[in-house]
Amino acid sequence: MAYVHVEQAVKSFPREDGTDMLVLGGVSFDAKERGITCLLGPSGCGKSTLLNVIARLERLDQGYVEIVSNHGESGTRLPQLGYVFQDPRLLNWKRVEENLIFALRGMDVPRRQWDERIHTYLGLVGLLEFRKQYPLYLSGGMRQRVGLARALVIEPDILLMDEPFSKLDQLTARKLREDTLEICARLQQTALLVTHDVEEAAYMGDRIVIFSARPAHIVEVLDNPFSPLERDLDDVRFIQFKKQLLQTVLNLVKEKEEA
């Protein structure tokens, strides 16, 4: 069980000329526990920055991020995060399985579980036969899937995904979305998924958090009326929901332009 709460997050980056560029302009939201929260926003609005803050790679100027993970009787420990980066960020000098081992070792997963975990999660992303291959001999999409497997293999409290499907071809992306949705539902995984794709947000998100353009603030948070199993891409009602969501987003954009 894990829990993420972002409160009034403010972050700016220094520009070349010494002034500050405000990226996160007071972002607050709660991630859905045991579900996927989609962070939907335009390119450059600060979504990756927010994930980096949550992963403690960047510090906020103001506000805070609260991450709590409870482990039943074993008590509370530092939450473990699995991060699927926007680019694969693999260790190219290590074979696919060694890249997963790198994460397993870092997270202190007992050695006897390694083999089974690698088998499970590489199988899940469809790369079992490339276990011993070096990343640079794989296609871009396959490398991205290795990145996904590396984040899943540690069975994290919270899974952070930064546009993990945006570089895949449509069929692979669709398959991988289905699989990821299923895995997360089965594991009751708390996950944050960054995307700028409305359809993806409607399909993947149990909760959808809509960001404005930079400086980012939250314009709307809505919970998906469809449970993961009900999200049938060909179902008329689901298509209706997607249209609505798209309309909401377009309206927000229009309001912004008029203002």
Partner: protein, 300 residues
């Protein structure tokens, strides 16, 4: 048209929306075939040409030597084959192995010491700003100090012992190694460090799995250059009064004014260098960069 809609308030859709069926097929089948396999005969021909060029260059060198020797007395420029006969004499008496062994040992020990010190120092200098400021001046100064002066200093300090040879080699090449590792460390990919942080990699794992592999090409260049420097220094040290080693043999040749002996020892030396360079270092390079597909398409 695809049904995907991108959320892009600032303009038209940014992502190309193409139904890419081909890439699905590719991802299923593509990489099962061995990557980057060249057609066999073409590769063999390339290699033959390469070897031919290398041999040709050496033959041309010997030829130029021979032509030069026609214009000078043999005491000044000995004929190539006389010199080669001397080389084979040196090698066949077994003399060569003893002398070369001493020299090699001095080079390798000095080199090893320099490596062991410069790798951690270079990495620390590349990581910690304060250490960088502190060690930059001595390292840069060390780089400009001539190896000959180090040799003299070390012999004066340690006397004519093996230690002075080791120390002279180590001190001479150390700054060069440290600089290249330091610069290499500064150039490493921050994103990968971030990644290793997210997955709680230990400090050791960060160095061994993330930083060092990115330094490999810097290290290899440093090793090549460092070995070259080490040979030069060690010969100088040996000339100062050691009673064995290639440098000593060269001095002996000089004392009897035998150009042939001096050249013969120089040649054996070069051969050993070449074996190390193309044999050992080449092998090392191939084995530590196996993960990198060899793409040389842009070279002619």
């Amino acid at each position: 048209m695809s049904s995907l809609n991108n959320f892009t308030p600032t303009g038209p859709t940014q992502r190309e929306e193409t139904l890419s069926v081909h890439s699905q097929a590719e991802s299923l089948r593509g990489a099962t075939e061995a990557p980057f396999r060249r057609a066999k005969p073409a590769a063999a021909r390339e290699m033959l040409k390469d070897v031919g060029l290398r041999v040709g260059s050496i033959v041309a060198l010997v030829f130029a030597w021979w032509v030069t020797s026609l214009f000078f007395p043999p005491t000044l420029v000995p004929r190539p084959w006389d010199t080669f006969a001397e080389v084979s004499a040196i090698v066949s008496t077994g003399n060569f192995f003893i002398e070369m062994g001493s020299t090699l040992r001095r080079v390798l020990v000095g080199f090893g010491i320099a490596m062991v010190v410069s790798i951690p120092l270079g990495i620390l200098m590349g990581t910690l700003r304060s250490l960088e400021s502190f060690f930059e001046p001595p390292v840069i100064l060390g780089l400009t100090m001539p190896g000959l002066i180090w040799a003299v200093l070390m012999i004066m300090f340690f006397g004519l012992t093996e230690t002075s040879a080791y120390a002279a080699v180590a001190v001479t090449i150390f700054p060069m190694l440290a600089i290249s590792i330091w610069q290499g460390t500064k150039a490493i990919d921050k994103d990968l460090i971030d990644m290793s942080e997210v997955f709680h990699a230990s400090a050791w794992s960060k160095v061994v799995d993330v930083i060092l592999p990115q330094l490999v090409s810097h290290l290899l260049a440093a090793i090549r250059y460092g070995l070259g420097l080490a040979w030069k220094v060690v010969v100088v040290v040996e000339m100062f009064g050691f009673s064995n080693g290639v440098g000593y043999q060269v001095v002996r040749g000089f004392n009897v004014f035998s150009m042939k002996t001096v050249l013969a020892w120089a040649i054996t030396f070069l051969v050993v260098m070449i074996v190390i360079e193309f044999g050992f270092i080449g092998w090392l390079e191939r084995s530590v960069t196996r993960w990198r597909p060899r793409v040389e398409a842009w070279r002619r």
